[in-house]
């Protein structure tokens, strides 16, 4: 394939790709995300490939491995298009029947999703309750493409935004992103356009951009799903950003525990380079941009921007104070713009549809959609993309299907280990950056861990504190030593050795870490403890005063749930 040298070349290529595709042909799309791999989707995919040949349907049916469409609970997921049939929990033995049904234009009833509320079978993907209330602007395309094929991405309008952006002035792009109201999806929610502008205006010839794909929050995997399932959407966002900022070198820092994400992104970069969408003289415009992947080493702290940059420089991942912003002095002391994967994936959508369209979605202070990973004691585990401002209740009950095994909802932890728990009384809260912060938690990268009434909140606080203690880099005193003692105190409480003064002492240490830690990981580390004390103080007191774990989790003469 020769490099594309102009916008016209891109158009011609797109036409030739779509022209070669037979719209009458059915496509069997099989989720090949890491989640479904645990269900054995690879053998399901191989079985489909064999079976289609066996039944002589190769000219009528294509088999396409796709990225994660989000409904992990019911994997392996199989969609038949254009009919829009949605099969779930598909195993290799089911494959001949599914293929035969396509030949006969019928449906395999037993593999359809059953709506728990009505007991009815749901045939079409769009009618599955899990998807109905979602608005899948970002993750929706995962299900439409084979992520290892750049042609698939081009066929659904991929790189249109890049072509459009390269015809704009960099300032216009920044203005558009500012007007869209897009805020960083990685945690703090800083306005993306302003960050780009500061980096663009910084006085230095050399500037860097970085995509943070070091998704370290336990229970959060939306970034993995995007990098695995639609890597070009992230790339396209980055190339647009680089052009707007005036950067010619970018890095993608991917968590090493995500081997498939690393592999798919490598393929995507190579393909984009072959097409001339990355590298020198992109689409003949004279703009150069290259992108390197670096794998993380397994350190939660490297999600923090300065620690990530230290690690990119070949050093240990220690953060530094940010009195001078990284947008002015970041990687190698040069102006550096770092955004999270999901933030980058929002960029092409904004450029394609315009800021006015985009900013209609969401709430006053939080625009667009957000992907949440809904996990824990929840009926429908999976990735959920909803407009900002959707209530917790809608996410947990309407989309998530509520709590399984007939148990009761107790709390939901948002914002990962640095976030806090939100109790039942606050379920009507619309979810956006500001509301979550007000509630004592935070957006973080979008993890939502649902806990039922058999979850002990002191044990959860201990769990998060232990996690953070293990992930603290150890540079600053309050985070390292404070978490050490907090863990010891919490362990004591869960083992029945709690003292009356412990709650006050925990609060005191929490306050010091919050005020004095060097970085945000440290400063937010006390959140799980603070929020569980705030909302579930009685559970702490039961452990300490009565030596009882009301949820029956801790090994101290546990009392059963009523």
């Amino acid at each position: 394939m020769a490099k594309l040298k102009s916008f016209g070349d891109l158009e011609t290529l797109k036409k030739s790709i779509t022209g070669k595709r037979d719209p009458k042909k059915s496509v069997i799309a099989i989720c090949n995300g890491t989640g479904c791999q645990a269900y054995g989707c690879k053998s399901v995919t191989a079985a489909f490939q064999d079976e289609v040949k066996k039944q002589n349907l190769a000219d009528k049916v294509d088999v396409m491995p796709i990225g994660c469409p989000g409904f992990c609970e019911r994997g392996t997921l199989v969609m038949v298009r254009p009919q829009g049939i949605f099969y779930q929990r598909v195993r290799p033995k089911d494959v001949p029947e599914v293929v035969a049904a396509i030949g006969k234009n019928s449906v395999v009833d037993r593999l359809l999703f059953t709506d728990r509320q009505t007991g009815a079978k749901v045939t079409h993907e769009s009618d599955v309750p899990f998807y109905k209330k979602q608005r899948r602007l970002i993750i929706g395309n995962n299900g439409l493409i084979d992520s290892t094929s750049i042609d698939d991405y081009l066929a659904i309008g991929g790189y249109n935004a890049l072509a459009k952006a390269l015809k704009m002035k960099p300032e216009q792009i920044i203005d558009e992103v500012k007007k869209s109201g897009l805020r960083g999806r990685g945690g703090a929610g800083f306005p993306t356009g302003s960050k780009w502008e500061t980096t663009r205006n910084a006085h230095d010839e050399v500037k860097y951009i970085i995509a943070n794909a070091d998704e370290g929050d336990p229970g959060a995997f939306m970034d993995r799903a995007l990098v695995e399932g639609n890597p070009h959407s992230v790339l396209e966002g980055m190339i647009i950003g680089a052009y707007a900022i005036g950067s010619h070198q970018g890095y993608m820092y991917i968590r090493n525990e995500y081997p498939l994400a690393v592999k798919n992104m490598r393929t995507a970069i190579q393909m984009a380079e072959e097409y001339g969408l990355l590298g020198k003289n992109i689409l003949g415009t004279g703009f150069d941009f290259t992108l390197k992947i670096q794998r993380g080493g397994g350190a939660f702290i490297c999600g923090e921007s300065t620690a990530l940059m230290a690690s990119l420089e070949g050093k240990v991942g220690e953060p530094r104070a940010k009195y001078v912003h990284t947008s002015e002095q970041g990687l190698w002391g040069k102006p550096t713009n770092l955004n999270n994967v999901e933030t980058w994936a929002n960029v092409p959508i904004i450029i394609n549809n315009g800021a006015a369209w985009y900013s209609q979605i969401g709430t006053k202070g939080s625009k667009g959609t957000k992907i949440f990973s809904l996990v824990g004691n929840i009926t429908n585990t999976g990735l959920v993309e909803v407009p900002m401002g959707t209530t917790l209740k809608e996410i947990v009950f309407d989309i998530g299907g509520g709590i399984p095994k007939g148990r009761k909802f107790k709390a939901v932890q948002t914002g990962g280990p640095s976030g806090g728990v939100i109790p039942e009384s606050m379920l009507d809260m619309p979810v956006d950056y500001d509301e979550l912060t007000k509630a004592g938690s935070m957006m973080g990268s979008g993890g939502m861990i649902v806990m039922d009434d058999k979850t002990c909140m002191v044990d959860m606080a201990r769990y998060y504190t232990e996690f953070l203690e293990g992930e603290s880099c150890g540079k600053c005193l309050p985070c390292r030593e404070g978490l050490r003692h907090m863990k010891a105190i919490l362990t004591g409480i869960t083992e029945g050795r709690g003292k009356k003064e412990d709650i006050a002492l925990l609060e005191e240490i929490c306050a010091t870490i919050g005020d004095a830690a060097l970085c945000q990981l440290g400063a937010s580390a006390p959140n799980p403890v603070i929020s569980t004390i705030r909302h579930f103080r009685a559970e702490y007191e039961a452990h300490i005063n009565e030596h009882k774990c009301p949820a029956g989790v801790c090994k101290i003469g546990a009392a059963a749930v009523k």
């Binding site: 104070a321 540079k475 005193l477 404070g482 978490l483 050490r484 306050a511």
Partner: protein
């Protein structure tokens, strides 16, 4: 020069200096353990936190060893909030290094008695401020020691935690830079012994050909000769006799 106030006092400070530096120049004491003017600021001990208000009216806590002075800055070094933070930090230090005289003295000065947190053993007075490792890297240029592992397991060690590691030249800068006495150096009978919290090293000393005093580790002399491109024989006589 920029105009700032610290604890209500009007001060002129040169541009680019840190708040801590400006305070020191004006005899205003801000406690710190990890700050060392010979190396780049690090900001790990957090004792030097102060409250500031910028000319624009933004109020917050900052690390005075890292934060640079700016026109119209108002600094408070000893508010109730700061005192509370410092006390807890010192309590944490005391639990980490109960046997350090420096920490005990600091606790006394700040009215911290301890006893609430379980004291640790085995840290051997080391508070992990990295003054030694930073001096070894930035001043000496040798990088013989570093902080290894992470979080609560962090330790100041030689590579692979070995005694008598290859890289150390025995200059002893680490022991001079240590604020808590966790690194000691002893010269005796022509041998220098450096003891770090978890390792130790012994060095043969060079004898002055004039006065007969042992004046520097042989390895350090060789290192200096090599890096300065001078013959080792230049160092047969100690600096005192050379004068």
């Amino acid at each position: 020069m920029v105009k700032i106030t610290i604890n209500g006092r009007n001060i002129n400070a040169p541009e680019g200096v840190t708040v801590l530096h400006a305070a020191r120049e004006n005899n205003i004491n801000i406690p710190t353990l990890c700050e060392n003017e010979a190396v780049a600021p690090y900001g790990a001990c957090r004792l030097c936190l102060v409250e500031i208000k910028t000319a624009k009216g933004r109020q917050r806590l900052v690390t005075s060893c890292l934060y640079q002075v700016e026109e119209g800055l108002t600094v408070q070094t000893n508010t109730e909030r700061i005192q509370k933070i410092r006390k807890m930090l010192i309590e944490l230090l005391l639990a980490r290094c109960p046997d350090s005289d420096v920490i005990q003295q600091m606790a006394k000065e700040h009215g911290v008695t301890g006893g609430r947190l379980t004291p640790q053993t085995g840290n051997n007075k080391c508070i992990l401020c990295a003054n030694c490792a930073r001096t070894c890297e930035e001043v000496v240029g040798v990088s013989a020691i570093s902080l290894s592992k992470r979080g609560v397991e962090r330790e100041l060690t030689t590579p692979f935690g070995e005694d008598n590691s290859d890289d150390c030249i025995g200059c002893g800068s680490c022991s001079y830079s240590c604020p808590t006495g966790a690194i000691t150096m002893e010269d005796k009978n022509g041998t220098r012994k450096i003891t770090w919290p978890h390792n130790e090293m012994k060095f043969k000393m060079k004898k002055c050909s004039v006065c007969g005093q042992f004046w520097a580790p042989v390895k350090q002399v060789e290192y200096v000769a090599k890096t300065s491109g001078t013959p080792v024989t230049d160092y047969d006589i100690c600096p005192n006799c050379r004068e």
